[in-house]
């Protein structure tokens, strides 16, 4: 317990201006951070020897639509293997500008997790190298895990995609044309 207190104190000192609140629900350590300079905050958490949070466990988001402001919250689970400690970072993101700094320069594993958050919540990650949808298809309209996305909404059918450089076999088509020609039918 004392160890946890000293850890949170160190975080308080190092990130003083960025911290909005520190919570301790159910024995977890939760820090609510400001999204400005987020990457730098994570660098400090990772590289400060007393903290040593070297492992990014998970990135996800929660949509508090009509429940609280700002609307979104991006949630990071990080852990220190040496200190055997977990820490949860929550970062509020407003609805009118749903964007946040990407953590891919610090942890490359953030790539897929951030793509998933973009896909399902529509929160953009600044400086992400390849921000595409990951679970859904490119033509999908909307972001389904937002609370204002109806659960029974059907998506329009997508026309077949033309991919450049794809080999198309036209032999069967030509054969049909020849057959029609020999029979003297038009079209």
């Amino acid at each position: 317990m004392a160890e946890t207190d000293s850890r949170l104190e160190t975080i308080q000192q190092k990130l003083a201006t960025k911290i909005i609140e520190i919570l301790r629900p159910q024995g977890d350590d939760v820090v609510i951070l400001d999204r400005a300079g987020l990457r730098e905050s994570f660098r400090i958490l990772k590289h400060t020897p007393e903290l040593d949070f070297d492992f990014l466990s998970d990135i996800t988001a929660v949509d508090y639509w009509q429940k609280q402001e700002p609307r979104f919250e991006v949630v990071y689970q990080i852990l220190s293997r040496a200190k055997r400690a977990r820490l949860r970072i929550r970062v509020p993101v407003p609805e009118n500008d749903p964007s946040i700094e990407s953590l891919t320069p610090i942890w490359r594993g953030a790539n897929f997790m951030e793509r998933e958050v973009w896909d399902l919540f529509g929160i953009r990650f600044i400086d992400h190298p390849d921000l595409r949808r990951v679970l859904l298809y490119e033509e999908f309209r909307g972001h389904p895990l937002r609370k204002d996305y109806p659960v029974n909404l059907t998506q329009p059918r997508v026309p077949e995609r033309k991919i450049d450089g794809t080999f198309v076999d036209e032999r069967s088509h030509n054969k049909l044309m020849r057959l029609k020609k020999s029979l003297g039918t038009k079209n």
Partner: protein
Amino acid sequence: MKAEVKELPTEIMELQMGPSHPATHGTIKFNLKLEGEKVLDCDVEVGYLHRGFDKSCEQATWTQVIPYTDRLNYASPLINNVGYAMTVEKLIGAETPPRCQYIRVIISELSRIYDHLTCCGMASSELGAITPGFYMIEARELVTRIVEQLTGARLTVTYVRVGGVKHDLPDGFAEGVTRTFQTIRKLLDDCDLLLSRNRIFIDRLSNVGVISQETALNYSLTGPILRATGIGYDVRKAFPYLVYDQLDFEVPVGTRGDNYDRFICRIREIEQSMKIVEQALAQLPVGPVWIEDPRFVLPEKEKVYNSIEGLMHHFKIIMEGIHVPAGETYFAVEGGNGELGFYIVSDGGGRPYRIRVRPPCFIAMGAFHQMIKGYMVADIVPTFGMINMIGGECDR
């Protein structure tokens, strides 16, 4: 006439492998950039099995989510059940009785055996080692029979509840497990003779799909893939839950982080899991398997049919669901493929506000291009096989 030496033109070929490819389990597509047979780059496309797990959970009551978790990693549904139930219990602040905790350890380890046997058996038969593949599938079938005897279902078990397990172990369970483990050990010995020192098998796996310790940590890899690099991170040891701190077991680690080490790690873990189950069965205490809290536990059938209070109690729990206090929490267990975490948010109503699963194999697929870069097209099959990508969990 002087012979002219012409260089053959070379160009980078783009090849799409999957999703209808037997080695990709029908749920993954690799967009490869090839130079001859060498893989220059690989873009992994997942999501073919996406069915909106998170969104479905938000429509269900807390108990109705348990069947959905069965369908995440369907090679180890019991671990998913345990992970979810324990996360909700953490938010409630309830602690299950000792017998329930031991039963949860036993079923988790049985599931882990099943998971590793699936992975190793499938991966070896994909490489042409059909006989040991079938030996492992036979061993897996024996585990399935234990699970069926316990839960009544082979795959979609729905055995764990918030606050306990559905029912106690059946009669003769321990003897059945002991008998089964004898057979599994014999089958694994045969597989060991056929595979572990088999020249062809080693040539296909050794020094293929190598990933260094730093890269593995950078890509958030967990489970056998991380342990094969030599980092002994296991949630059961790092953040002990249930009664794992009272049981004696080791965490096997590799040295090089290649496919062969992953294979050996998994085989060694099966042995450790069997050891854990035997210890847990020997120490199994007597007592209830449910917490004693009427807010979360269904009343006995006798009360339901004979008293109005019992009937109302039953109706309330079934129709409204259990009430989880408002809050949010994260809890992780060691799944078959790594850290299986649940992040749940409750707004105090009868339904979850948000449920997020940390899927270990989705994150491993995010590092796949790093594992395969510079190797041959044929190396994709064992590398992908040793990740043990399960579509239900990867795509949710």
